[in-house]
């Protein structure tokens, strides 16, 4: 009786809440989707899109708010860069589309770069965007008190000279390949608004920047609810008067991937920037949803610590690669075909990839022959190769929370056992893995690296970069010399033969075993059109998104 009473009480208490469901929230009723136009392929102005993101943004000043990708994504919608790198790097180096700068030109010695700014670009308070803002931004980016984490990219820039209100000239210490990328790193900030507080106070002023937000990008902040959602609304003073199409973009913080999927299927979310391959079948079965895949510039590799005598010999590392069936691993961890075997740090979707490179064959017998020639034999009959009384055994670490890499570790263990090598896979927390990597306290590990379009591989394989990314301590003076040579040419296209040679050297030496490259999979509700995420930004063309009848 009492239980029945209690149950009734709970249900009664729930009643008004359940009744609400029938009303539906404004979003659920689809009120903000504009009515269908006669031509459903024609972009329409208005409407709201809901984007779901695992992490939450931390602020609006990219120089002091370090960290999450969503912070950067939002900031790129608020502020413009001088030019915008395009994702068209498959056939040639990426082009730079005009953004705040209408055009740019080089001096004959390639040490002075002049930008001509748009005259029609204004801040959201009506003040024109000028060369003073560009110089102010450079000063902030390089100020020690601001301590911007990407300040090192500005080290070769000697000055940002204001020629006139719409012309700014950057002076470099020397000519090299990444000059435009270095200048263009970072958005241009409003001097008249943010210059009111000294750089030394910037780290204490996160709220102040938000309260004194002045933007020149397509969107501005409508509301900022910590841990909940950030609402972007149209900046009415954006120089492209016909953009953005959407009135509002709600960026909801949903920290759990399973919850993200639930909200996608319940129609509460329109776009998720990254979903797991395992969810694709379910998503494709829903006619409201569309999957967008694009090759990511991330390669996952098995890093051999060459300080360990087991992995010091390039021939042995080749044998290890040949003993690992990478195709089988890729087919297993990417059963839907969204992965492929890696072969170079320059991934296959980038113009500079050496097309002549082919993955080393899966050849356990050949691997065993190489190992035997190096003195590795099973002398005690325990099934494990040994030399000088020491077995060929090591620990292979990968980071927790990444099922694909953890699964690959187990498969590697199984495959290496067939050639007489004992690999012990161990899953460690990501921060712990990074610590071990930086300190060189590991034997082998599965790690992912992302290459930018500068194609500078010094961090991953340079002999002086052992704490920066060359965790396996690969040391090859020829690589070092060629990399410097490739990066010193102002036009990276001229370095293609050198980049090919570098890739061939890495292929020969196998400082790492390249395991796979993969696609990143985004999902969008078909009622949102022209969504084109890419490797640069998931919200790359947010100003072009529009809401309308489902495709």
């Amino acid at each position: 009786m009492l239980v029945r009473s209690a149950r009734t009480a709970v249900l009664l208490a729930a009643l008004p809440i359940l009744v609400l469901t029938g009303c539906g929230s404004p979003r659920e009723k689809g009120e903000e989707t504009p009515p269908a136009s006669p031509a459903s392929g024609t972009p329409q102005r208005g409407g709201t899109a809901v984007v779901s993101w695992i992490a939450s943004p931390t602020g609006v000043n990219e120089l002091t708010n370090q960290g999450t990708a969503i912070t950067t994504e939002i900031i790129r919608q608020l502020f413009l860069q001088l030019v915008q790198e395009q994702p068209d790097f498959e056939q040639h180096p990426p082009t730079m589309a005009p953004q705040l700068a209408r055009s740019f030109e080089w001096s004959p010695d390639h040490k002075v770069l002049t930008f001509h700014l748009r005259e029609d670009a204004v801040w959201s308070d009506g003040v024109p965007v000028t060369a003073d803002d560009v110089r102010f931004t450079w000063q902030a980016q390089t100020d020690p008190d601001v301590a911007w984490s990407s300040a090192f990219m500005k080290k070769n820039i000697l000055d940002a000279e204001v020629v006139d209100p719409h012309t700014v000239r950057f002076h470099f210490s020397h000519a090299y390949a990444k000059q435009v990328q270095d200048v263009n790193e970072g958005v241009i900030l409003p001097k008249h608004a943010w210059g009111k507080i000294p750089f030394s106070k910037w780290h204490d002023s996160s709220d102040w920047f938000l309260e004194n937000l002045v933007v020149d990008g397509p969107f501005t902040i409508g509301s900022w609810q910590p841990q909940q959602d950030v609402v972007l609304v149209r900046n009415e003073r954006y120089w492209r008067k016909d953009r953005p199409y959407l009135d509002k973009v709600v960026i909801r913080n949903t920290p759990d991937a399973a919850s993200q999927m639930t909200q996608l299927f319940s129609g509460d979310t329109d776009f998720i920037p990254q979903v797991q391959p395992g969810d694709i079948a379910r998503i494709k079965a829903d006619p409201r949803l569309d999957v967008i895949g694009y090759w990511f510039r991330l390669y996952v590799s098995l890093v051999w610590n060459s300080h360990n005598p087991l992995f010091a010999d390039p021939e042995v590392r080749r044998a290890l690669t040949m003993a690992i069936d990478r195709q089988k691993i890729v087919d297993t961890v990417y059963p839907d075909g969204t992965g492929r075997v890696g072969v170079s740090p320059i991934v296959q979707s980038v113009w500079a990839f050496d097309q002549t490179l082919k993955p080393l064959p899966y050849d356990p017998a050949g691997a065993r022959r190489i190992l035997e020639s190096k003195g590795w034999k099973d002398t005690d009959g325990d099934g494990i190769l040994d030399k000088g009384g020491k077995p060929f055994a090591f620990t292979l670490i990968s980071n927790a929370g990444n099922q694909q890499r953890n699964d690959a570790g187990v498969m590697v263990q199984d495959q290496l056992r067939k050639v007489g090598i004992r690999a012990e896979p161990r899953v460690v927390e990501f921060n712990s893995l990074v610590s071990q990597a930086v300190e060189g306290k590991f034997e082998a590990m599965i790690f992912g690296f992302q290459m930018d379009t500068s194609l500078d591989m010094t961090a991953q394989f340079g002999s002086k970069s052992t704490e920066d990314g060359n965790f396996g301590s690969y040391n090859n003076p020829e690589f070092d010399r060629l990399m410097v040579e490739a990066m010193s040419k102002p036009d990276i296209r001229d370095s293609k033969p050198i980049l090919d040679r570098i890739q061939q050297i890495l292929h020969r030496d196998q400082p790492v075993t390249f395991l796979w490259e993969s696609q990143r999979l985004s999902v969008v509700n078909r009622r949102i059109h022209d969504v084109k995420p890419n490797v640069l930004f998931s919200l790359f063309n947010l100003e072009d998104w529009w809401a309308g009848p489902a495709r």
């Binding site: 708010n65 780290h203 996160s206 919850s259 961090a459 920066d468």
Partner: protein, 322 residues
């Protein structure tokens, strides 16, 4: 009574100091460097890395960092979050109302269900009802709370879509009337509060059942029954009163497990509270924020324990004289 209070207060403060110190050093002993998060980019030149560490005070020796942090904490300054670039107290203050709301609602469900199930089981010990309640209570208690949360979402948001799958409010809720906004929050609160309550009501129900059975066997209850009082009056008025004092104790103990459960539930339901903040702070090695959220939780639990002790002492003189 005052002596009792002061003794308990001193013990609580000492415990708080030990907890904070332990957390400080444990965080720094854990693998992973906050600089790795701050620096974001492993390719940073060493001088840039040092510059950033200096900006955040991470270049000082650990004992110095500890002394500075403890001194600042005593002054009420809990430092500045690395990731949010805001005072920790402000960051916590922003999310605290959501956590308090969820914890209070979860506690309400836990106590109501625990009490109802415990009484129902005690009324007919050994009966089928008693067995079923025990099985259900043990089942709920033994399930990982995130699993319960996901199943609840699956059931009530997808299969039978009557409740939202997460978040504190609907998109566009700011355009609703104040009453509708409150109802909107309650609509979102229902499922996570139910999950928190369901996951933690098991021990309460077992405790209520055990205590009630003890009381029901006592002479004054038999006398009440012999007088012909209705059974409901015997239980609700005479027996339950004797169970409430020890229930207060278990309430304080369950607060810590409730807070633990809330952390997980907040992540599963995208609830913008202290638990999720702690979770994100740990992932990003945001030391000041981890210390701030831990210190806050410790203070809350110790404060609740202190209150429970006082309540118990007021109800039972033997406790304060012990």
């Amino acid at each position: 009574m005052i002596r009792f209070f002061l003794r308990r207060l001193a013990a609580s403060l000492l415990l708080l100091y030990l907890v904070l110190t332990a957390v400080f050093f444990l965080i720094h002993l854990a693998p992973g460097d906050p600089a790795a998060f701050l620096l974001n980019d492993l390719r940073l030149p060493p001088e840039q890395q040092e510059n950033l560490k200096r900006t955040y005070g991470l270049d000082r020796p650990l004992p110095v960092q500890y002394a500075r942090w403890m001194a600042a904490t005593l002054r009420g300054d809990w430092g500045r979050s690395f990731s949010y670039q805001r005072p920790v107290t402000q960051v916590i203050g922003d999310v605290l109302p959501a956590t308090l709301l969820l914890a209070a609602a979860g506690l309400l469900v836990e106590q109501a269900l625990g009490l109802a199930l415990g009484i129902a089981a005690a009324r007919r010990p050994g009966s089928a009802t008693d067995h079923w309640i025990r099985i259900v209570a043990l089942f709920l208690y033994s399930q990982p709370i995130f699993w319960l949360g996901l199943m609840a979402i699956l059931l009530f948001s997808l299969v039978w879509p009557v409740l939202p799958a997460g978040h504190l409010r609907s998109i566009g809720a700011e355009d609703l009337s104040p009453v509708a906004r409150v109802l909107d929050v309650l609509h979102h609160l229902f499922l996570p509060a139910l999950v928190v309550g369901l996951a933690t009501c098991g021990p309460v129900s077992r405790f209520v059942r055990g205590s009630l059975l003890d009381v029901l066997g006592q002479e004054h209850i038999r006398a009440s029954r012999a007088k012909g009082l209705p059974e409901s009056r015997v239980i609700w008025v005479h027996a339950l009163r004797n169970v409430l004092a020890p229930l207060l104790q278990i309430f304080a103990v369950s607060l810590s497990s409730l807070l633990g459960g809330v952390i997980v539930v907040e992540v599963v339901f995208s609830w913008p509270g202290l638990g999720r903040l702690t979770f994100e702070a740990i992932l990003s090695r945001d030391y000041p924020l981890i210390l701030g959220t831990t210190a806050f939780s410790a203070v809350a639990i110790l404060f609740a324990s202190l209150l429970a002790d006082l309540g118990h002492a007021l109800a039972d003189p033997r406790v304060r004289d012990a």
